[in-house]
Symmetry: C2
Subunit: 503 residues, 2 copies
Amino acid sequence: MSDRKTNVTPYAQLETRFEELHQLGHAQAMLSWDDAVMMPRGGGPARGEALAALAALAHRTLTAPEVGDLLDRAGASLAQLNAWQQANLRAMRRTHTRAVALPEALVRTNQLATTRCQQIWRAARADNDWNAVKGSLGEVIALAREEAAALGDALALDPYDALLDGYEEGTREAHVTQLFDDLKGFLPGFIDRVIARQTAPFPLPGPFPRDGQHALGEDMMRLLGFDFSRGRLDVSHHPFCGGVPDDTRITTRYSEEEFLESLMAVLHETGHALYQQGLPADWRRQPVGNCLGAAVHESQSLFVEMQMSRGRAFIEFAAPHLRRHLGGKPGDAAWTADNLQAHSRQVRRGYIRVDADELTYPLHVILRFEIERALIAGKLDAADIPDAWNEAMTRYLGLSTEGDYRNGCMQDVHWFAGLFGYFPTYTLGALMAAQWFAAARATLPDLDSQIEAGDFAPLIGWLRRNIHGRGQLKTASELLIDVTGEPLSLRHFKTHLENRYPG
Amino acid sequence: MSDRKTNVTPYAQLETRFEELHQLGHAQAMLSWDDAVMMPRGGGPARGEALAALAALAHRTLTAPEVGDLLDRAGASLAQLNAWQQANLRAMRRTHTRAVALPEALVRTNQLATTRCQQIWRAARADNDWNAVKGSLGEVIALAREEAAALGDALALDPYDALLDGYEEGTREAHVTQLFDDLKGFLPGFIDRVIARQTAPFPLPGPFPRDGQHALGEDMMRLLGFDFSRGRLDVSHHPFCGGVPDDTRITTRYSEEEFLESLMAVLHETGHALYQQGLPADWRRQPVGNCLGAAVHESQSLFVEMQMSRGRAFIEFAAPHLRRHLGGKPGDAAWTADNLQAHSRQVRRGYIRVDADELTYPLHVILRFEIERALIAGKLDAADIPDAWNEAMTRYLGLSTEGDYRNGCMQDVHWFAGLFGYFPTYTLGALMAAQWFAAARATLPDLDSQIEAGDFAPLIGWLRRNIHGRGQLKTASELLIDVTGEPLSLRHFKTHLENRYPG
């Protein structure tokens, strides 16, 4: 750090260092996007090494001995900092505390092991070959336990809580369990009633050429406020949102037989993207200018996809666009708003989480939550996963996955990528999305007519003002109370489901 | 560097550090590729900052005080190292010497200034607006002079020589001047004679759909040995070869009116790519495993494009592929090998370097060489460039560029990107390519019949063995003597031109 002046304040020195971390993060984000979207398969090992080296370098930059000292000294003159700077210092400290809990060797080994395991998983999943990947997954689990224990020690948390806290600050297993127990009590019977009552919609006649689907997706993104001068839409195996605030990249995938899944993926990822593009411009290079955790991030995607886009007003708005891009006839019963709405709200017990409707989705999450906390606690090992999965799928969704790993415990990349504690954030995000949407509706009385007219500026403006533009100025729980007047609650999600799927 | 063990040898510690630099280089290479091929325009400033931060980080890693000490200690026990390790140490020292000559602030300022100047140039060139960019170019020139002076001091070289040496080790202005004076004596009259004698070929009837051109390009790449599991072909404004050895990315651009330029660009970049993909696998992460300088790199692209692909044997081989992909009729006079050969060898005095044939190309390089050495010597300033350009173009090629900046001094990105001392390597590469090809032909008696039959393995194998697979084990001048029996000479280039364009 040869050029760093020593007569600047400790806080300013920290900003310099965290800006450097931000730039390393830029490189990591773009290399990961490229890995998923562009990279030829043979580039995998070299990319894995490069990402591991960047992770180690970032870790070293963050854990250098002087950083703790600077944090202490900056904290001692807190009164000289404004609210954003104070929040920034808080975010720095949180990042630092988690980093110093982990030795660099573990960070590097973990990055290499998870990159390798994902690569093995990709091929093994296609072959339904559990044995090919379970050894590598065992290593990843062992490393995750080690990481959880080290973080737990440093944070005075149980190991699994320490992982949860990394994805969404303040999240605790006990609270998640309580919310999920509520959902387990409520959803199965609700799903039975909806399935018993729903009727099959008219089929939507394909094929739907990719070009038309892509143009439709780009139109929708543009209308919602996605800035294409600072982002792209591409194709990848699994839809995701990546990149950086000034270059936000989302992906989807296309099937010519079916368009709704791909379109909903675009809308979902657009929700993530609007969050990223809407972060406070002045704080882009500092921790406080980042998004909050994974649950809040997911709440933004579900706000757009589930709360808004599957609502009647949006479907009325979208129907002519769909017909225009996909060749639907205006008079055709298949292409009416009623029928499109019915398609977008079909409930079905299925094997695959990412294909699940909003009623069965939480059950997919709950079974993963229950298995992964047992894995981290050492009560289950990699070899036990298939049986545990089959048992839980049968219990929650009435579906056996015996011998079908591809559609069972090998369907999601998360564990193979070392992400334990991430799954619960999907459902926490669904609860939050309902809570935000109720708050937005309360302040925007003309919301439905605006959406139906394609005027999304008021709603997106509400998100920008209340959530996106505030970065990490507040914690997620502070922000929820500030914006919605109450802490995270199941109430709005329940009300939303009861309104959308009336019994 | 907390995890670095101190009981390993100085050389091994250096390998660890240079492997980290290699991984930063991976990130820089992929971010630059993305910048040119994928990035939305609004992502530019953030990308510029990220690249500047990575450049500063690499510089800091390379110039840390302990590195010089490790280099000295490793050099003191040279006998314990094998030939590859010794060459590696030599390459490390060279990189280190150049890096420590430059303060980090200059490296960072330079990276920011050149990224910004390129961004201004992109828009200004489209508008033919010299005034918009000359101020920014002036700053870049001032920084380049500063860099050249600092490097010159450290290396005991004249400033311009210090820049030349950075692109191709051992290159000196005096030697380049002598070679270029020979070319200036020889080429103009030669060009006159060829133009006076050549006849117009039958026009090739378009349009040529992009898909067909792309498939043709990919076919040619595959046949030449490009490994698509470790590389891609994409589209960018200017063709280039980027990425890393295990993920080599080349680009071209398509016009539906004309295909030969695009195809030749693919073949040219394939020459670069084969070099990169053919580097020694065991040394990929170390300096000795890199390509030699820009002249040797260019010699590989011109070996494939100029020496091989515009030769009769390749055209005989390629003609049916061209007809198949581009809709040519076998009996049509336009699509015969004779006519395709005539197209590939048309000589024409033009404004644009990258569109020039192999006879006029060196004159484009010579005028740039003469202007840039005057710029670095302080004998010319940014404001003087348009007049100097116009004067030299008129003198060498009989074409005035007065008021036409776009096709004059704003056509190439190099100076706007801070690349001074690079242009001569194009023509040095052309001389080398002729020299390598003559040596290859001498050891491969059936070369023409192999090429005509599409059997490129012997020729590419020769390149792999003699050049690609040897990385930086020898210097460029050592390698030339080792492989061709003589130092760089104009002789083979002259002979090649006289054979191809007989008088």
